[in-house]
Protein backbone atom coordinates (compact mmCIF):
# COMPACT_ATOMS: atom_id res chain seq x y z
CA UNK A 1 0.00 0.00 0.00
CA UNK A 2 2.88 2.34 0.73
CA UNK A 3 4.15 1.94 -2.82
CA UNK A 4 0.81 2.98 -4.25
CA UNK A 5 0.77 5.97 -1.91
CA UNK A 6 4.26 6.92 -3.04
CA UNK A 7 3.19 6.68 -6.66
CA UNK A 8 0.49 9.28 -6.06
CA UNK A 9 3.01 11.83 -4.77
CA UNK A 10 3.51 13.40 -8.23
CA UNK A 11 -0.24 13.98 -8.37
CA UNK A 12 -0.18 15.67 -4.97
CA UNK A 13 2.84 17.70 -5.99
CA UNK A 14 1.14 18.98 -9.15
CA UNK A 15 -2.02 19.83 -7.24
CA UNK A 16 -0.07 21.74 -4.62
CA UNK A 17 1.86 23.55 -7.33
CA UNK A 18 -1.33 24.51 -9.17
CA UNK A 19 -3.65 25.26 -6.29
CA UNK A 20 -1.48 26.09 -3.31
CA UNK A 21 -2.28 24.44 -0.02
CA UNK A 22 -6.03 24.35 -0.71
CA UNK A 23 -6.16 20.63 -1.66
CA UNK A 24 -4.43 19.68 1.59
CA UNK A 25 -7.48 20.38 3.74
CA UNK A 26 -9.92 17.97 2.07
CA UNK A 27 -7.11 15.45 1.87
CA UNK A 28 -6.58 15.59 5.62
CA UNK A 29 -10.32 15.54 6.20
CA UNK A 30 -10.84 12.41 4.11
CA UNK A 31 -7.88 10.70 5.76
CA UNK A 32 -9.20 11.50 9.23
CA UNK A 33 -12.69 10.28 8.36
CA UNK A 34 -11.47 6.99 6.90
CA UNK A 35 -9.04 6.22 9.73
CA UNK A 36 -11.50 7.20 12.44
CA UNK A 37 -14.28 4.96 11.13
CA UNK A 38 -12.00 1.96 10.71
CA UNK A 39 -10.53 2.40 14.21
CA UNK A 40 -13.93 2.95 15.80
CA UNK A 41 -15.42 -0.05 14.04
CA UNK A 42 -12.75 -2.46 15.22
CA UNK A 43 -12.28 -0.59 18.52
CA UNK A 44 -8.54 -0.78 18.12
CA UNK A 45 -5.88 0.90 16.06
CA UNK A 46 -3.90 -2.17 15.05
CA UNK A 47 -6.11 -2.76 11.99
CA UNK A 48 -4.88 0.59 10.68
CA UNK A 49 -1.45 -0.88 10.30
CA UNK A 50 -2.21 -2.69 7.04
CA UNK A 51 -2.56 0.78 5.51
CA UNK A 52 -5.68 0.02 3.51
CA UNK A 53 -7.88 2.56 5.30
CA UNK A 54 -5.08 5.09 4.96
CA UNK A 55 -4.85 4.47 1.23
CA UNK A 56 -8.61 4.69 0.78
CA UNK A 57 -8.70 8.04 2.57
CA UNK A 58 -5.67 9.23 0.66
CA UNK A 59 -7.06 8.38 -2.78
CA UNK A 60 -10.44 9.86 -1.91
CA UNK A 61 -8.79 13.01 -0.58
CA UNK A 62 -6.75 13.38 -3.77
CA UNK A 63 -9.90 13.04 -5.85
CA UNK A 64 -11.84 15.70 -3.92
CA UNK A 65 -11.80 19.25 -5.30
CA UNK A 66 -9.66 21.77 -3.47
CA UNK A 67 -12.49 23.88 -2.11
CA UNK A 68 -14.36 21.03 -0.43
CA UNK A 69 -14.79 21.91 3.21
CA UNK A 70 -12.84 19.58 5.51
CA UNK A 71 -16.04 18.58 7.29
CA UNK A 72 -17.60 17.31 4.07
CA UNK A 73 -14.32 15.60 3.21
CA UNK A 74 -14.33 13.92 6.60
CA UNK A 75 -17.90 12.76 6.00
CA UNK A 76 -16.93 11.39 2.60
CA UNK A 77 -13.99 9.53 4.15
CA UNK A 78 -16.24 8.06 6.80
CA UNK A 79 -18.78 7.00 4.18
CA UNK A 80 -16.05 5.38 2.10
CA UNK A 81 -15.20 2.99 4.91
CA UNK A 82 -18.64 2.81 6.50
CA UNK A 83 -20.48 2.09 3.27
CA UNK A 84 -17.82 0.72 0.97
CA UNK A 85 -15.66 -1.57 3.04
CA UNK A 86 -16.68 -2.46 6.59
CA UNK A 87 -20.20 -3.74 5.84
CA UNK A 88 -18.70 -6.27 3.45
CA UNK A 89 -16.33 -7.78 6.00
CA UNK A 90 -13.39 -5.44 5.85
CA UNK A 91 -10.04 -5.95 4.22
CA UNK A 92 -10.05 -8.04 1.07
CA UNK A 93 -13.81 -8.49 0.93
CA UNK A 94 -15.22 -5.27 -0.47
CA UNK A 95 -16.72 -5.73 -3.95
CA UNK A 96 -16.70 -1.97 -4.61
CA UNK A 97 -13.86 0.49 -4.55
CA UNK A 98 -14.27 2.17 -1.14
CA UNK A 99 -12.76 5.48 -2.21
CA UNK A 100 -15.20 5.69 -5.09
CA UNK A 101 -18.09 4.66 -2.83
CA UNK A 102 -17.17 7.60 -0.63
CA UNK A 103 -16.82 9.94 -3.59
CA UNK A 104 -20.08 8.86 -5.22
CA UNK A 105 -21.96 9.04 -1.91
CA UNK A 106 -20.60 12.53 -1.32
CA UNK A 107 -21.50 13.60 -4.84
CA UNK A 108 -25.04 12.37 -4.40
CA UNK A 109 -25.55 13.52 -0.81
CA UNK A 110 -23.99 16.95 -1.01
CA UNK A 111 -23.28 17.70 -4.68
CA UNK A 112 -23.04 21.45 -4.22
CA UNK A 113 -20.32 21.13 -1.59
CA UNK A 114 -18.24 19.22 -4.12
CA UNK A 115 -19.09 21.09 -7.31
CA UNK A 116 -18.67 24.51 -5.70
CA UNK A 117 -15.38 23.35 -4.31
CA UNK A 118 -13.93 23.24 -7.77
CA UNK A 119 -11.62 26.19 -8.34
CA UNK A 120 -12.90 27.49 -11.62
CA UNK A 121 -14.72 25.42 -14.19
CA UNK A 122 -12.90 22.24 -15.16
CA UNK A 123 -12.45 21.59 -18.88
CA UNK A 124 -14.99 18.78 -18.66
CA UNK A 125 -17.59 20.99 -17.05
CA UNK A 126 -17.00 23.84 -19.44
CA UNK A 127 -17.10 21.52 -22.45
CA UNK A 128 -20.42 20.14 -21.23
CA UNK A 129 -21.74 23.66 -20.71
CA UNK A 130 -20.28 25.21 -23.86
CA UNK A 131 -23.74 26.08 -25.21
CA UNK A 132 -23.52 25.42 -28.88
CA UNK A 133 -19.86 26.01 -29.55
CA UNK A 134 -18.11 23.56 -31.81
CA UNK A 135 -15.15 21.81 -30.27
CA UNK A 136 -12.63 23.98 -32.12
CA UNK A 137 -14.42 27.17 -31.08
CA UNK A 138 -14.39 25.98 -27.52
CA UNK A 139 -10.75 25.01 -27.84
CA UNK A 140 -9.84 28.58 -28.77
CA UNK A 141 -10.64 29.69 -25.26
CA UNK A 142 -8.99 26.72 -23.60
CA UNK A 143 -5.24 26.48 -23.45
CA UNK A 144 -3.23 23.35 -22.91
CA UNK A 145 -2.83 20.20 -24.98
CA UNK A 146 -6.20 19.00 -26.32
CA UNK A 147 -7.90 21.56 -24.17
CA UNK A 148 -7.31 19.51 -21.05
CA UNK A 149 -5.87 22.62 -19.39
CA UNK A 150 -4.55 22.25 -15.89
CA UNK A 151 -5.78 18.67 -15.87
CA UNK A 152 -3.10 17.79 -18.38
CA UNK A 153 -0.26 18.19 -15.90
CA UNK A 154 -2.21 16.15 -13.35
CA UNK A 155 -2.76 13.44 -15.91
CA UNK A 156 0.94 13.36 -16.70
CA UNK A 157 1.64 13.02 -12.96
CA UNK A 158 -0.81 10.10 -12.74
CA UNK A 159 0.76 8.54 -15.80
CA UNK A 160 4.23 8.81 -14.28
CA UNK A 161 3.13 7.29 -10.98
CA UNK A 162 1.19 4.57 -12.77
CA UNK A 163 4.07 3.61 -15.04
CA UNK A 164 6.30 3.39 -12.00
CA UNK A 165 3.78 1.07 -10.31
CA UNK A 166 3.70 -1.07 -13.45
CA UNK A 167 7.48 -1.17 -13.50
CA UNK A 168 7.51 -2.17 -9.83
CA UNK A 169 4.87 -4.79 -10.64
CA UNK A 170 2.58 -3.46 -7.97
CA UNK A 171 -0.27 -3.36 -10.46
CA UNK A 172 -0.95 -5.46 -13.53
CA UNK A 173 -1.39 -3.79 -16.88
CA UNK A 174 -4.80 -5.31 -17.56
CA UNK A 175 -7.17 -2.86 -15.89
CA UNK A 176 -5.35 0.37 -16.91
CA UNK A 177 -5.02 -0.76 -20.52
CA UNK A 178 -8.65 -1.80 -20.59
CA UNK A 179 -9.69 1.53 -19.11
CA UNK A 180 -7.69 3.55 -21.61
CA UNK A 181 -8.86 1.53 -24.58
CA UNK A 182 -12.46 1.54 -23.38
CA UNK A 183 -12.52 5.28 -22.82
CA UNK A 184 -10.67 6.16 -26.03
CA UNK A 185 -12.72 3.89 -28.26
CA UNK A 186 -15.99 5.04 -26.74
CA UNK A 187 -14.86 8.63 -27.24
CA UNK A 188 -13.88 7.85 -30.83
CA UNK A 189 -17.32 6.39 -31.50
CA UNK A 190 -19.01 9.41 -29.93
CA UNK A 191 -16.78 11.98 -31.66
CA UNK A 192 -18.26 13.34 -34.83
CA UNK A 193 -15.34 15.56 -35.81
CA UNK A 194 -16.12 18.43 -33.47
CA UNK A 195 -19.69 19.67 -34.01
CA UNK A 196 -21.47 21.62 -31.31
CA UNK A 197 -23.01 18.38 -30.10
CA UNK A 198 -19.73 16.49 -30.07
CA UNK A 199 -18.36 15.01 -26.89
CA UNK A 200 -14.73 15.94 -27.49
CA UNK A 201 -11.90 13.97 -29.05
CA UNK A 202 -10.49 10.76 -27.49
CA UNK A 203 -7.21 12.34 -26.38
CA UNK A 204 -9.11 15.10 -24.61
CA UNK A 205 -11.04 12.49 -22.65
CA UNK A 206 -7.92 10.55 -21.80
CA UNK A 207 -6.18 13.60 -20.39
CA UNK A 208 -9.09 15.57 -18.99
CA UNK A 209 -10.57 15.13 -15.57
CA UNK A 210 -9.46 12.15 -13.56
CA UNK A 211 -9.25 9.55 -16.33
CA UNK A 212 -5.62 8.60 -15.88
CA UNK A 213 -5.83 8.86 -12.11
CA UNK A 214 -8.70 6.37 -12.25
CA UNK A 215 -6.89 4.16 -14.74
CA UNK A 216 -3.80 3.73 -12.56
CA UNK A 217 -4.97 4.23 -8.97
CA UNK A 218 -8.68 3.47 -8.82
CA UNK A 219 -9.63 0.72 -11.23
CA UNK A 220 -6.42 -1.09 -10.28
CA UNK A 221 -7.66 -1.64 -6.72
CA UNK A 222 -6.93 -5.32 -6.32
CA UNK A 223 -9.78 -6.18 -3.98
CA UNK A 224 -12.80 -4.68 -5.67
CA UNK A 225 -14.22 -5.95 -8.91
CA UNK A 226 -12.61 -8.63 -11.05
CA UNK A 227 -9.59 -10.65 -9.91
CA UNK A 228 -8.53 -12.68 -12.92
CA UNK A 229 -6.33 -11.02 -15.56
CA UNK A 230 -8.92 -11.25 -18.37
CA UNK A 231 -11.61 -10.17 -15.93
CA UNK A 232 -9.60 -7.08 -15.02
CA UNK A 233 -9.12 -6.23 -18.66
CA UNK A 234 -12.85 -6.50 -19.29
CA UNK A 235 -13.67 -4.52 -16.17
CA UNK A 236 -11.31 -1.76 -17.32
CA UNK A 237 -12.91 -1.66 -20.75
CA UNK A 238 -16.37 -1.37 -19.23
CA UNK A 239 -15.28 1.32 -16.77
CA UNK A 240 -13.67 3.35 -19.56
CA UNK A 241 -16.71 3.16 -21.81
CA UNK A 242 -19.04 3.98 -18.92
CA UNK A 243 -16.89 6.97 -17.96
CA UNK A 244 -17.51 8.47 -21.36
CA UNK A 245 -21.21 7.81 -21.23
CA UNK A 246 -21.49 9.39 -17.77
CA UNK A 247 -19.55 12.40 -19.03
CA UNK A 248 -21.69 12.92 -22.09
CA UNK A 249 -25.13 12.14 -20.74
CA UNK A 250 -24.82 12.07 -16.94
CA UNK A 251 -25.90 14.86 -14.60
CA UNK A 252 -22.32 15.53 -13.43
CA UNK A 253 -19.36 16.80 -15.49
CA UNK A 254 -17.26 13.74 -14.65
CA UNK A 255 -18.48 10.22 -14.02
CA UNK A 256 -15.43 8.22 -13.09
CA UNK A 257 -16.75 7.22 -9.68
CA UNK A 258 -20.05 5.87 -11.00
CA UNK A 259 -18.36 4.18 -13.93
CA UNK A 260 -15.86 2.43 -11.66
CA UNK A 261 -18.56 1.29 -9.24
CA UNK A 262 -20.72 -0.16 -12.02
CA UNK A 263 -17.72 -1.90 -13.56
CA UNK A 264 -16.83 -3.27 -10.12
CA UNK A 265 -20.30 -4.73 -9.88
CA UNK A 266 -19.74 -6.56 -13.15
CA UNK A 267 -16.33 -7.82 -12.00
CA UNK A 268 -17.43 -11.18 -10.54
CA UNK A 269 -19.34 -11.95 -13.72
CA UNK A 270 -16.21 -11.25 -15.79
CA UNK A 271 -14.24 -13.54 -13.46
CA UNK A 272 -16.76 -16.34 -13.85
CA UNK A 273 -16.61 -15.95 -17.62
CA UNK A 274 -12.83 -15.93 -17.61
CA UNK A 275 -12.71 -19.09 -15.50
CA UNK A 276 -15.28 -20.84 -17.65
CA UNK A 277 -13.46 -19.99 -20.86
CA UNK A 278 -10.11 -21.09 -19.49
CA UNK A 279 -8.68 -24.19 -21.04
CA UNK A 280 -9.01 -27.19 -18.78
CA UNK A 281 -5.40 -27.36 -17.73
CA UNK A 282 -3.24 -24.30 -18.24
CA UNK A 283 0.20 -24.71 -19.71
CA UNK A 284 2.08 -27.50 -17.96
Amino acid sequence: MGTVGLATLPVLAVRLAQEGFAPALPLLGALAGALAVEALYYRRVTTLRDGSALLTGWLLGLALPAGTSPVWALTAGALALGLGKLPFGGLGRNPFNPAMVGYAAALLLFPLALLDGQTGATPLASLAARSGLTVSEWRATHPGPWGAGSGFALSLASLAGGLWLLYRRRISWHAPLGYGVGLASAALLAYDGGSSQSAGPPLFHLFAGSSLFAAFFIITDPVSGAHTPPGRLAMGLLAGALTLSFRTTGPFPDGVAFAVLLANAAGPAFDALAEARRRQTPRV
Binding site: D50, S52, L91, G92, R93, R169, S172, P222, V223, H227, T228, P229, R232, D271, E275, R278, Q280, T281, P282, R283, V284
Partner: protein, 167 residues
Protein backbone atom coordinates in the same frame (compact mmCIF):
# COMPACT_ATOMS: atom_id res chain seq x y z
CA UNK B 1 -2.00 -13.90 8.52
CA UNK B 2 -4.09 -11.48 6.49
CA UNK B 3 -6.88 -12.30 4.06
CA UNK B 4 -6.21 -12.50 0.34
CA UNK B 5 -6.22 -8.94 -0.93
CA UNK B 6 -6.31 -10.14 -4.55
CA UNK B 7 -3.17 -8.18 -5.28
CA UNK B 8 -2.44 -10.67 -8.05
CA UNK B 9 1.23 -11.00 -7.12
CA UNK B 10 0.86 -14.78 -7.25
CA UNK B 11 -0.46 -14.86 -10.82
CA UNK B 12 2.56 -13.88 -12.94
CA UNK B 13 5.03 -15.91 -10.85
CA UNK B 14 3.33 -19.29 -11.31
CA UNK B 15 5.49 -21.31 -13.71
CA UNK B 16 2.44 -23.39 -14.64
CA UNK B 17 0.39 -20.36 -15.63
CA UNK B 18 -2.23 -21.02 -12.98
CA UNK B 19 -4.30 -18.43 -11.14
CA UNK B 20 -3.32 -19.24 -7.56
CA UNK B 21 -5.69 -16.72 -5.98
CA UNK B 22 -8.73 -18.20 -7.73
CA UNK B 23 -7.51 -21.70 -6.95
CA UNK B 24 -7.08 -20.73 -3.31
CA UNK B 25 -10.58 -19.29 -3.24
CA UNK B 26 -12.08 -22.38 -4.86
CA UNK B 27 -10.41 -24.74 -2.41
CA UNK B 28 -11.33 -22.48 0.48
CA UNK B 29 -14.94 -22.89 -0.56
CA UNK B 30 -14.44 -26.67 -0.87
CA UNK B 31 -15.26 -26.49 -4.57
CA UNK B 32 -13.09 -29.31 -5.92
CA UNK B 33 -14.58 -29.36 -9.43
CA UNK B 34 -13.86 -25.63 -9.84
CA UNK B 35 -10.33 -26.15 -8.51
CA UNK B 36 -9.86 -29.00 -10.95
CA UNK B 37 -11.11 -26.82 -13.78
CA UNK B 38 -8.60 -24.16 -12.75
CA UNK B 39 -5.79 -26.67 -13.11
CA UNK B 40 -5.26 -27.99 -9.58
CA UNK B 41 -3.67 -31.12 -11.05
CA UNK B 42 -1.07 -29.01 -12.82
CA UNK B 43 0.24 -27.32 -9.68
CA UNK B 44 3.76 -28.47 -9.08
CA UNK B 45 3.84 -27.24 -5.47
CA UNK B 46 6.83 -25.07 -6.30
CA UNK B 47 5.90 -22.47 -3.66
CA UNK B 48 6.53 -19.53 -5.99
CA UNK B 49 3.06 -18.10 -5.35
CA UNK B 50 3.32 -18.59 -1.59
CA UNK B 51 6.69 -16.86 -1.47
CA UNK B 52 5.31 -13.85 -3.34
CA UNK B 53 2.09 -13.52 -1.36
CA UNK B 54 2.20 -10.34 0.74
CA UNK B 55 -0.54 -11.72 2.97
CA UNK B 56 1.57 -14.78 3.78
CA UNK B 57 -1.21 -17.16 2.77
CA UNK B 58 -0.45 -20.92 2.82
CA UNK B 59 -1.22 -21.24 -0.87
CA UNK B 60 0.97 -24.21 -1.75
CA UNK B 61 -0.09 -26.04 1.40
CA UNK B 62 -3.73 -25.71 0.47
CA UNK B 63 -3.04 -26.80 -3.10
CA UNK B 64 -1.29 -29.93 -1.90
CA UNK B 65 -4.18 -30.70 0.44
CA UNK B 66 -6.52 -30.15 -2.46
CA UNK B 67 -4.57 -32.58 -4.62
CA UNK B 68 -4.70 -35.14 -1.79
CA UNK B 69 -8.46 -34.67 -1.54
CA UNK B 70 -8.72 -35.13 -5.29
CA UNK B 71 -6.67 -38.30 -5.09
CA UNK B 72 -8.77 -39.66 -2.23
CA UNK B 73 -11.86 -38.86 -4.23
CA UNK B 74 -10.43 -40.66 -7.24
CA UNK B 75 -9.65 -43.71 -5.12
CA UNK B 76 -13.10 -43.73 -3.61
CA UNK B 77 -14.52 -43.46 -7.07
CA UNK B 78 -12.39 -46.37 -8.25
CA UNK B 79 -13.61 -48.55 -5.38
CA UNK B 80 -17.13 -47.57 -6.19
CA UNK B 81 -16.62 -48.38 -9.84
CA UNK B 82 -15.17 -51.82 -8.99
CA UNK B 83 -18.10 -52.65 -6.71
CA UNK B 84 -20.43 -51.56 -9.42
CA UNK B 85 -18.81 -53.82 -12.03
CA UNK B 86 -19.00 -56.76 -9.64
CA UNK B 87 -22.62 -56.10 -8.87
CA UNK B 88 -23.47 -55.81 -12.52
CA UNK B 89 -21.66 -59.06 -13.36
CA UNK B 90 -23.52 -60.89 -10.59
CA UNK B 91 -26.82 -59.50 -11.78
CA UNK B 92 -26.02 -60.69 -15.28
CA UNK B 93 -25.14 -64.18 -14.10
CA UNK B 94 -28.35 -64.38 -12.09
CA UNK B 95 -30.41 -63.21 -15.01
CA UNK B 96 -28.75 -65.75 -17.29
CA UNK B 97 -29.36 -68.62 -14.84
CA UNK B 98 -32.99 -67.60 -14.57
CA UNK B 99 -33.37 -67.50 -18.31
CA UNK B 100 -31.75 -70.92 -18.64
CA UNK B 101 -34.04 -72.42 -15.98
CA UNK B 102 -37.03 -70.98 -17.77
CA UNK B 103 -35.86 -72.40 -21.08
CA UNK B 104 -35.32 -75.86 -19.57
CA UNK B 105 -38.80 -75.82 -18.07
CA UNK B 106 -40.24 -74.80 -21.40
CA UNK B 107 -38.40 -77.63 -23.09
CA UNK B 108 -39.54 -80.16 -20.48
CA UNK B 109 -43.11 -79.04 -20.98
CA UNK B 110 -42.83 -79.28 -24.74
CA UNK B 111 -41.35 -82.77 -24.38
CA UNK B 112 -44.19 -83.88 -22.11
CA UNK B 113 -46.74 -82.51 -24.53
CA UNK B 114 -45.06 -84.26 -27.40
CA UNK B 115 -45.12 -87.58 -25.51
CA UNK B 116 -48.75 -87.18 -24.52
CA UNK B 117 -49.65 -86.58 -28.13
CA UNK B 118 -47.75 -89.65 -29.21
CA UNK B 119 -49.55 -91.74 -26.60
CA UNK B 120 -52.88 -90.44 -27.75
CA UNK B 121 -51.96 -91.18 -31.32
CA UNK B 122 -51.28 -94.79 -30.26
CA UNK B 123 -54.65 -95.12 -28.51
CA UNK B 124 -56.42 -93.75 -31.53
CA UNK B 125 -54.55 -96.34 -33.60
CA UNK B 126 -57.81 -98.17 -32.46
CA UNK B 127 -59.63 -97.54 -35.74
CA UNK B 128 -58.05 -100.78 -37.00
CA UNK B 129 -59.20 -102.68 -33.97
CA UNK B 130 -62.71 -101.19 -34.08
CA UNK B 131 -63.03 -102.09 -37.73
CA UNK B 132 -62.10 -105.68 -36.96
CA UNK B 133 -64.61 -105.71 -34.11
CA UNK B 134 -67.25 -104.28 -36.38
CA UNK B 135 -66.46 -106.80 -39.08
CA UNK B 136 -66.64 -109.62 -36.57
CA UNK B 137 -69.96 -108.35 -35.26
CA UNK B 138 -71.28 -107.90 -38.77
CA UNK B 139 -70.24 -111.39 -39.67
CA UNK B 140 -71.91 -112.78 -36.54
CA UNK B 141 -75.01 -110.72 -37.29
CA UNK B 142 -75.21 -112.01 -40.86
CA UNK B 143 -74.86 -115.56 -39.61
CA UNK B 144 -77.52 -115.06 -36.92
CA UNK B 145 -79.89 -113.54 -39.44
CA UNK B 146 -79.25 -116.41 -41.84
CA UNK B 147 -80.00 -118.93 -39.11
CA UNK B 148 -83.01 -116.93 -37.99
CA UNK B 149 -81.73 -116.44 -34.47
CA UNK B 150 -83.72 -113.29 -33.90
CA UNK B 151 -82.67 -112.63 -30.34
CA UNK B 152 -78.99 -112.93 -31.20
CA UNK B 153 -79.48 -110.73 -34.24
CA UNK B 154 -81.12 -107.98 -32.12
CA UNK B 155 -78.30 -108.13 -29.55
CA UNK B 156 -75.63 -107.97 -32.23
CA UNK B 157 -77.31 -105.08 -33.96
CA UNK B 158 -77.40 -103.16 -30.69
CA UNK B 159 -73.73 -103.88 -30.15
CA UNK B 160 -72.93 -102.65 -33.65
CA UNK B 161 -74.80 -99.33 -33.14
CA UNK B 162 -73.11 -98.87 -29.79
CA UNK B 163 -69.78 -99.29 -31.53
CA UNK B 164 -70.59 -96.71 -34.20
CA UNK B 165 -71.94 -94.10 -31.80
CA UNK B 166 -69.06 -91.99 -30.57
CA UNK B 167 -68.86 -92.31 -26.83
Amino acid sequence: MMPCIHCGACVPVCPRGLWPQQLFEALGAGDLPRAQHLGLDACGACRQCQDHCPSGLPLTKRFREGQDALLALTEAEQVKALAQTRFLAREQRRAQAEAEALEAKRQRRAEAKRRAEARQAQTSGAPGRQDAQRAALARALAKAEAEDRLRDATRLRAALTALDEPS
